[in-house]
Structures are given as C-alpha cells and as structure tokens.
Amino acid sequence: MLEMRNVSKRYRTSTVETRALAELNLSVEEGEFVAIVGPSGSGKTTFLNVAGLLESFDGGSYDLDGEDVSQLNDKQRSQVRNQKIGFIFQNFNLIPDLNIFDNVDIPLRYQRVPSWKRSELVESALDTVGLKGRMKHLPGQLSGGQQQRVAIARALVGSPRLLLADEPTGNLDSNTANGVFDLLLELHNAGSTILMVTHEESMASHASRSVQIRDGILRAN
C-alpha cells in the first residue's frame, strides 16, 4: 500500500538548513494500522505531510497504492490526495462557515461526484460517525469530539485507500479521545489502512504496529 525508500526532506532558509527527515524507509501493508510515535519536533508532522503529498521531498522514492508519486505535478498530487488519502487533523480543520454537510461534501466536490450521489455518501459517512442528525449545524455548534467525528466522516467519505491521522485525539479530553480512538479502531477492523502519528505511547499500543521517530529518523519498535 505505502512504500517509502530513503526519503529525505530538508528545510532551507538563507542562513540555516534543517534536516527534517533522513533516509526514511517505511512499508505499510493494506489493512494495517501503523502508529508513528515521537516527541514534539521529531519530524512526525513533516513525515505525515510528505506521506499525504502535502509537501514534496528532496530524495528517495515513494510508491502509494502501486503508483510512484515522487514525480507527480501539482494537479496529479491533488488528485491522489483527493482519491486515495483521507486526512484527520489534530485541530479538526473544519471550515467554520460551512455546515457539517458541506464540510464533509468537500472531497466529493473535487471528485466531481453527481449531486444525488454526494448526498447519499455524505449522509452515510455522517451516519457512520453518529452525526447524521447534525448535518445543518455549523462546526462551532458542535463539541470538540463531535467536530473530530465530522473530520473523520470527511476523511472517509471519498473511500480513500489510506487514512492519515495527525494526533487525532490531541485536542480532546480523555473520555472524548477514547471515543474517537475507538472509532478509528472500528474503521481499522472494517479494513481501513491507517497511518497515525502521535506522541502518546498508550494510543500507539493499540495499533497493529508502531514505529519511533527521532530527529527525522524512523526506528521500528
């Protein structure tokens, strides 16, 4: 499903060059739930951005779902993000002036799914996370846990091949966090491939495999 070989990433300013990822190798099989664990500043988010094609990388190769994504242009990368990857962010990243339906609808819009089909898919995704009754609400009218569930519905709605979760419970209290994490486990059990970065070992322990990241270098546990 995901194959990274010797992937490296550096940030450069006029005076400083910072190594964010170094000779990174990772293989994720279909249906796996892999946790990337590391402290703040270890390169977790950079890794996830590279894996999600939100940022380019300097060296190495990256195959996603059997396709070499190293040399894609912006439009092709956008299509891969739209059709093969679902994102779950720590801060939910819902658009505040769009209601829940319209937030979840966004990936389908870029897939150019017909209107009647979109309604069906959005309702089904919200039903999966238990929020079908809140479709007309704005994000600000929901609790943090509910917002993260909406974000999960949005990540799921386009039937992506890979779910990328960046500290998905980082902004939630422990009870809510457990509920959200249970939802991720349910998705995993239903066959979804999930790659999650977290600094919480307790969360990582529930994944099928966890990998440590330190100074941009991955080490298997």
């Binding site: 950079t46 912006d74 299509q79 819009r109 870029y110």
Partner: protein
C-alpha cells in the same frame, strides 16, 4: 466546478462583508467616474444615421488665407463661401447635394389667438430631406424649380405644425414668415436627429425649412459662424461675392467607390478657381463620412479627452486599491485554502475560485458603478440645465449599461490575477503546520 466556486465565493463574500463592500465600492467609484465621462464622449460621437455613413459626405474646400499657409491639413475651413457652394450646387458630380445655413425668423400666426413667435430655420436645397432621412407626416419636399426660382415655400416641423394648426394637415396652407407669405409643402413627423449631424449641434432639428435661394434673396437673419480672411465688400452682393465662409455643404454619393472620383472633381474645381486668382494655397480639399466628420470635429475639442484621461487614471488608482484589498482578503484565508488543498483542490482550482470570487465582487461593483454613473450623469444634467443636448448627452443606453457591468467584472478579474496567483501558490503542508 463553477457552481461550487460560486457557492464558496458567496460564502467568502458574506464572511468578510465590509472588506467585500469596500472592494465593490472602490471598483464602483472608478467605474462611475470613468463611465460618466465615457457616456458623454460616446453620446457626442454617436452617429445618428449609421445607414448613411457610406453615402453622405461633408465637403471642405480650402479657399483659405494664402498668407497663412500651414502644413496642417486641418487648417482648411469647415464651411464654404457662397461662390463655391452655389458653384458645387450647379454641378452634377454628386447624386444628391445640399448647401445650407441656419436662419431665424418670426412667424405671425393666422389664428388671432396666437402671438407672433420666433422660429429657428434652415435654408436648404430640396435634396436635404432625403439625404438626412427626414420623415414626412404630410406632403413632402419642394421641387427643384422652387430651389431655382427662390419660391416662397416651407416645410414645418411637427411641433410647429401642431402649434399653428393643431396637428391638422396644413399642406397647401400659408404662414407668414418675416412678414412674407409662404406656402406649406410638407410637415415633418417627429425627427430625433441628435446630434444634429449636418451642423454638429445638439439642438433638435429646426422648426422651419425653406429653399436656400429664397433665404438668401429675402436676406434672412443668419445663425451660425461666419469667418472672413479678408474684409467683405459692402452690401449683400458684396458679401455673397466675398471669401467669407458661412455655408455647410453635404454631398450624397451612390456608393463609397465614388468617393475618390468626387474628391478629384473638387480638386479640379479648385484648380480651375486658381486660374481666377482664388484657392492660392496648395490643394487641401477633403470629404468626410459622418463618422469621420464627428471624429474630425471632436479632435478640435481636446477638453473631453483630458477629462477621460483623468477619469481613467482615477479608475486605475481605484483598481490598485482593489488589488491591495483582494490580496489582504485572499491571504487571510490560508487556513481554508490549506484545507481545500489537502482535500483535493489543485493550485489551478483555487486560482479559478479566487477569480470567480473577484468576478462576483466585480459584478456588484459594476451594478454599484452603474448607480454612480447614473448619479454622475444626473449631476452633469443639472449643471447643463437649459443647454442644448443636455438630456441626450447624459443618457445611459442599454449598450453602455452592459459595458459598465462588464467593465466591473473584467476589471475585478484583472485586479485579482496577482492576488489569486499569490493566494494559491503556498504549499498546503506548510500552511497546515501552523493550524
């Protein structure tokens, strides 16, 4: 995606209503100022007889002062001397032709209830009415023999006929004009010839029309400019034989292919006159279509051009302000943009979305600009109150209305190009890191 882009654009506009309004206002102020001036310019330059443009020609003969020679072809007089106008009328080089000048007279109504009143008039030849598509309600033009014999016949405007005869068919009746009796041969229907192309005036067509030779013979009071480069000999005959120019001359040709032939005829006439000691300047005769004549006459008045340049500069300043506001607006939405990018929007998709949003703001700016244009024109109408053509000059027609709204959309899209490019080029990962 246009529907979705429009949906998100409307959300974004409502999200920042004050900023959006300021942008629409900046565009509207620029458009309002620019279109006010352009409307007047357009109205001045509008050809009321486009169907005649390839046939009707204004004639200029250069019988100017030989002591004041100039390389500028525009140094030739706009009008003709009596000698030249009547000589051209005797020729058959044009299909139709008329010499003309404005006159003023006093009508003494037959009805005792009415007081004498002044009327504007024009001394023309019988071809005039067909040449300028004058519509007749009753009767028609006079005969060529009336022209030749200076008969006392007259064509009335619709309003003059209404005033004197209460909309009755007055053909065959007589009116007293300057204490002479004239037989009415025709009554014009409503005639909206604005600008009055034959003398480039914004007044409506005159109230009476009479034969050229009659007006000369009976010494009607002339209205219009008279330019003399040497003193006129005394008396009426002296004036008619002088080099003073005071007559407009129009020729109608069968088609535009005859243009060169007619100009050659004018040059031959001038060469012939040189033998009599006239036309001592180098050949500089010209004929102009209606469009050319309007342009030629407008070039002499550069005031409007200066106003148009100032209005254009003001418009550009407004657009530069809009660029700044758009940049601020687009860059303030990095969070939203990054989310869309993460979920599948390409740079190009965001770029187009920004342009759609700018187009929506521009449409609103165009509508508001239309209101400002209307206000500007109302203001100018008030300033020009009582002057000829004030209403015509300040009218916004459907074409200009469409142009105003389109200008708003196009201008806003052009101003959005840089902000849209700038707003869509950030890498989503970099933006999302800060969220």
């Amino acid at each position: 995606m246009l529907g979705y882009d429009s949906f998100l654009a409307s959300k974004a506009i409502r999200q920042h209503p004050i900023l959006s309004f300021l942008m629409a206002l900046a565009i509207a102020l620029g458009i309002g100022t620019f279109m006010t001036i352009m409307t007047i310019s357009y109205s001045i330059g509008k050809n009321p007889l486009p169907q005649k443009n390839d046939f009707l020609y204004r004639v200029q003969l250069d019988a100017g002062n030989p002591d004041r020679q100039s390389n500028d072809p525009r140094s030739r007089p706009d009008q003709l001397t009596y000698t030249d106008a009547t000589a051209l009328m005797r020729s058959t080089a044009a299909w139709r032709q008329t010499a003309m000048f404005g006159v003023q007279g006093v009508v003494r109504p037959v009805r005792e209830a009415l007081h004498p009143f002044e009327v504007s008039g024009r001394a023309v030849y019988s071809d005039f009415f067909e040449m300028f598509d004058a519509p007749f309600k009753y009767g028609g033009t006079w005969s060529t023999s009336s022209d030749e014999n200076g008969e006392q016949v007259v064509v009335l405007s619709s309003s003059t006929n209404d005033r004197l005869f209460g909309d009755q068919n007055s053909v065959g009746e007589h009116i007293s004009l300057n204490d002479e009796l004239y037989r009415i041969v025709g009554v014009l229907d409503k005639w909206d010839l604005v600008p009055r192309i034959y003398d480039l005036s914004f007044s409506p067509p005159e109230e009476t029309f009479l034969p050229f030779s009659t007006a000369v013979e009976l010494e009607f009071r002339r209205v219009g400019s008279t330019n003399c480069w040497q003193p006129s000999p005394p008396g009426r005959d002296g004036f008619l034989a002088s080099e003073c120019v005071w007559i407009q001359f129009w020729a109608e040709l069968e088609d535009s292919s005859k243009r060169d032939t007619y100009l050659s005829f004018l040059d031959s006439y001038a060469m012939e006159q040189k033998q009599f000691g006239r036309f001592q300047r180098p050949l500089n005769n010209a004929i102009h279509t209606i469009d050319e004549w309007i342009d030629y006459s407008r070039e002499e008045d550069g005031g409007l051009t200066i106003f148009a340049i100032i209005a254009l500069l003001f418009f550009i300043v407004c657009l530069i302000n809009t660029v700044g506001l758009l940049l601020a607006k687009f860059l303030s939405r990095t969070r939203e943009l990054a989310i869309h990018r993460a979920l599948g929007a390409s740079r190009r998709a965001l770029f187009w979305r920004f342009l759609v949003e700018a187009g929506c703001i521009g449409f609103a700016g165009g509508l508001l600009g239309l209101a400002f244009t209307w206000l500007g024109l109302v203001g100018i109408r008030v300033l020009l109150r009582g002057q000829d053509g004030a209403l015509h000059l300040t009218q916004l027609d459907p074409l200009l209305t469409a142009v105003t709204i389109l200008l708003g959309i196009v201008a806003s899209i052009l101003t959005a190009l840089y902000p849209a490019w700038r707003g869509s080029r950030d890498t989503p990962g970099v933006l999302l890191k800060g969220l």
